[in-house]
């Protein structure tokens, strides 16, 4: 009896002492990235392994207007392959862009119906859950807590699981600077990279998607542009190459004559305005994870 009790106690202590302490693994002081001061709110974190253990780019794909979609109003959901744009997932009415949020109506609207947390709850924890929560534009409740602000060097993060199957990628975003120049559009090139871990070489192998020259709503309040592409449409026969992808990074550049702007958060050149991307949502609808 005593041995059993001792064993149970030992097991309990072992469980506690070897605890994962996951819930305190990613903590921030106060309102991180949400101070109300533009220059303080850049998120530029790259996971160490995506900085140090990365193989050369295995393959690059061009994403252009021809093989992508761009959504800024209800009718644009018709650009999605059927039945992805329909509210009920089969046919009928398209999603309503403006009725998308609030988040409490999970399952109603495009974002809450397709967000990664709804697909797999392991995406819920961490700062980047802002990008997986289904709020595709400002919901009037959480304001700045909805978005992730990046400069040109962007961010790189691991997924909590490996992506086993996937259909299309969508990114909800807008541009932002500190001027009073409201409701404009900036042309942006986005480099989206998925990383597949190569066990043989212990390296992450990047697959680069160059999303070229997308006009993005800028200084548009809470309104965003949703851009994206179908993997099968862009990768063709290669579509299985990014199976088991376990990481993703986003960087960007401006396309065109924006010499008065800089996308480098450290650039202190006088007379240059800082331009940032405000990412609201990363969507991989109908993907599966393991």
């Amino acid at each position: 009896m005593r041995k059993r009790t001792a064993f149970a106690l030992l097991l309990t202590f072992a469980f506690v002492l070897t605890g994962c302490m996951n819930d305190v693994a990613e903590l921030y002081e106060g309102h991180a990235y949400d101070t109300g001061i533009f220059a303080e709110n850049y998120y530029s974190t790259w996971n160490e392994v995506l900085k140090n253990s990365v193989a050369p780019v295995a393959k690059t794909y061009d994403v252009t207007n021809a093989n992508s979609f761009q959504i800024e109003e209800d009718a644009d959901f018709a650009q999605l392959w059927e039945p992805d744009g329909f509210q009920n997932g089969q046919s009928g009415d398209y999603y309503s862009y403006f009725a998308d949020t609030p988040h409490e109506n999970a399952g109603y609207g495009y974002g809450p119906s397709n967000n990664l947390i709804a697909i797999d709850s392991s995406f819920a924890r961490g700062f980047l859950s802002r990008l997986y929560d289904g709020r595709i534009h400002c919901d009037g409740i959480t304001y700045a807590q909805t978005r992730v602000q990046i400069d040109g060097s962007g961010y790189g993060a691991l997924f909590p699981k490996e992506m086993m199957s996937y259909r299309y990628f969508a990114l909800s975003l807008r541009g932002a600077d500190e001027t009073d120049n409201l409701g404009t559009t900036f042309n942006v090139n986005i480099n989206l990279t998925f990383y597949v871990y190569d066990f043989a070489n212990s390296l992450y192998v990047p697959y680069l998607f160059q999303m070229k020259n997308f006009p993005i709503m800028t200084n548009s309040g809470g309104r965003t542009t949703i851009i994206g592409f179908y993997f099968a449409g862009v990768m063709g026969a290669d579509v299985n190459l990014i199976r088991r992808a376990s990481g993703m990074s986003i960087t960007f550049s401006l396309e065109g004559d924006y010499e008065d702007y800089t996308i480098d958060r450290e650039d202190a050149t006088e007379g240059k305005e800082h331009f940032a991307l405000m990412l609201y949502e990363v969507l991989l609808p109908k993907s599966t994870w393991n």
């Binding site: 302490m21 921030y28 106060g30 802002r130």
Partner: protein, 465 residues
């Protein structure tokens, strides 16, 4: 005839208490109905071993409880919250049943309160222990201090890690406020008071079990740590030490009585002024608003501000029988006190009934403490536990404890601790005048109570079980 079913009834009551204390499946509605059904079986015992004067005294004592039961069950609040008829009805019958269970089970000769308390303690300790281990696994020890004020993101929203811990709710762990968990921890910690009476050498097994139950509770508070809950344990500790070691209780009791009545008088006047102010009685509210000190005291400090948000709607026609959902300011006000939460749930009459019930309970417990032949360790645990719940419930009750579902209303009057407390109040109920029939010599003979128990209790010696 009645005697034949003693064991079965005692077993059912203890089972019901243990399930309630463990909050199995978070199915309090089932436990309330279970308590109600079992209470029928106890009616014959109550009828046989309760005198007419006791019934009269009990009737008067129970009037406020009946009002509380009906108004927390059926009110504007409960209807607009959509709890459902069966749930609301269970609150009425459960509130009365658990009190009655305590009252009537005392009259069953095979019932031993020690066993009931141990069952409650063990069941609740298991619940708390599971949460404690999982919390340590997820946060590590002392996370509320180590990471004070730090935040994390979940589902795209920001949360303060030092305000939460883990808790088994139903069949899964949830993130819940540390104050909610500490209520259970504090209740368990009061078991440690019994150790002042139990000999570790002569009654080792019992000492270890009681110590384990108490330590689980204390550890659940310390390892967070919740300093506010620990501070509120100090008066409980002082009471326990005083109760055990002060010999000249009558002299001290008289002093305590004077202090109690003085505090009661001051609190009563303050409450009356606050109520009149909230009711908008012009000469009072004008006088308060016109004086900086009084205005600060009754309107603008952080304690009174939420209380006023609750008291004011209580005097309106729409909020008289509890608040509808449209009274969002009042409903969301965090008073931290179940005494004011009842105003949201049952309105003015329920609020007044609760105050009356609290007063009657205090008087009854004072008499129980002084006159009951119960063993010392039983009395000290029951009284410490009631004081601990009163203090925690009055200062640290969290109406919205779920971290990720912060709009999910937790009613104190639908909670498991409330039912346990009602049972104990019912058990320890002592008529405000006279003695219970079961304590009369003839009745003692009738229920075959061992004669040496009262002698042991009087001499405050440790008890062998």
């Amino acid at each position: 005839m009645v005697d034949k079913y003693d064991s079965l009834i005692v077993f059912l009551v203890i089972e019901c208490l243990a399930l309630t204390a463990f909050s199995l499946a978070d199915a309090n509605i089932i436990f309330r109905y279970l308590g109600f059904l079992i209470s029928f079986a106890l009616i014959p015992f109550a009828l046989m071993f309760t005198s007419k004067s006791e019934w009269l005294s009990l009737g008067l004592f129970a009037i406020p409880l009946v009002v509380i039961a009906f108004l927390t069950g059926f009110s504007t609040f409960s209807i607009s919250m959509g709890f459902g008829l069966l749930d609301n009805l269970s609150v009425v019958v459960g509130t009365l049943a658990f009190f009655f269970l305590g009252f009537a089970i005392r009259r069953v000769k095979k019932f031993k309160i020690d066993i009931a308390l141990l069952s409650i303690g063990a069941a609740m300790a298991l619940l708390v222990f599971l949460g404690l281990v999982y919390s340590l696994y997820r946060y590590g020890p002392f996370h509320a201090s180590l990471y004070e004020g730090m935040v994390y993101y979940y589902d795209g929203r920001l949360f303060v890690v030092s305000e939460e811990t883990k808790w088994l709710l139903g069949f899964s762990f949830v993130e819940i406020s540390i104050n909610y968990v500490s209520l259970f921890g504090v209740m368990l910690s009061t078991a440690l008071a019994a150790l002042l009476y139990i000999s570790p050498t002569k009654d080792t097994r019992k000492f270890i079990i009681v110590a384990a139950i108490g330590l689980v509770g204390l550890l659940s508070i310390v390892t967070i740590p919740n300093f506010e809950a620990l501070i509120l344990l100090i008066p409980v500790l002082l009471f326990a030490l005083g109760y055990r070691f002060i010999k000249a209780r009558e002299k001290v009791g008289a002093v305590v009585q004077y202090i109690f009545f003085a505090v009661l008088g001051i609190a009563g006047i303050a409450l009356l002024v606050a109520l009149l102010n909230a009711a908008g009685i012009s000469f009072i509210s004008n006088a308060i608003a016109g004086n900086a000190f009084l205005n600060r005291l009754f309107n603008t400090n952080r304690i009174m501000s939420p209380i006023n948000k609750v008291l004011r709607p209580m005097f309106t026609a729409g909020g008289f029988f509890g608040f509808p959902l449209t009274y969002i300011d009042g409903l969301m006000a965090n008073t931290g006190a179940f005494e004011f939460e009842i105003a949201k749930e049952g309105g003015l009459l329920a609020f007044l009934a609760l105050l009356a019930f609290l007063l009657l309970t205090i008087f009854s417990m004072v008499r129980y403490s002084a006159k009951s032949p119960d063993q010392g360790h039983v009395k000290i645990v029951i009284l410490s536990l009631l004081i601990a719940v009163l203090l925690n419930g009055s200062f640290l009750w969290d109406t919205f404890p779920l971290i990720y579902e912060s709009d999910y209303y937790f009613s104190f009057f639908r909670s498991a601790p409330y039912l346990i407390v009602l049972f104990l109040i019912g058990y320890a109920y002592y008529p405000l005048v006279g003695k219970p029939l079961v304590e009369e010599p003839e009745a003692n003979a009738l229920v075959e109570q061992p004669a040496n128990i009262s002698n042991q209790a009087d001499s405050e010696e440790e008890i062998k079980l």
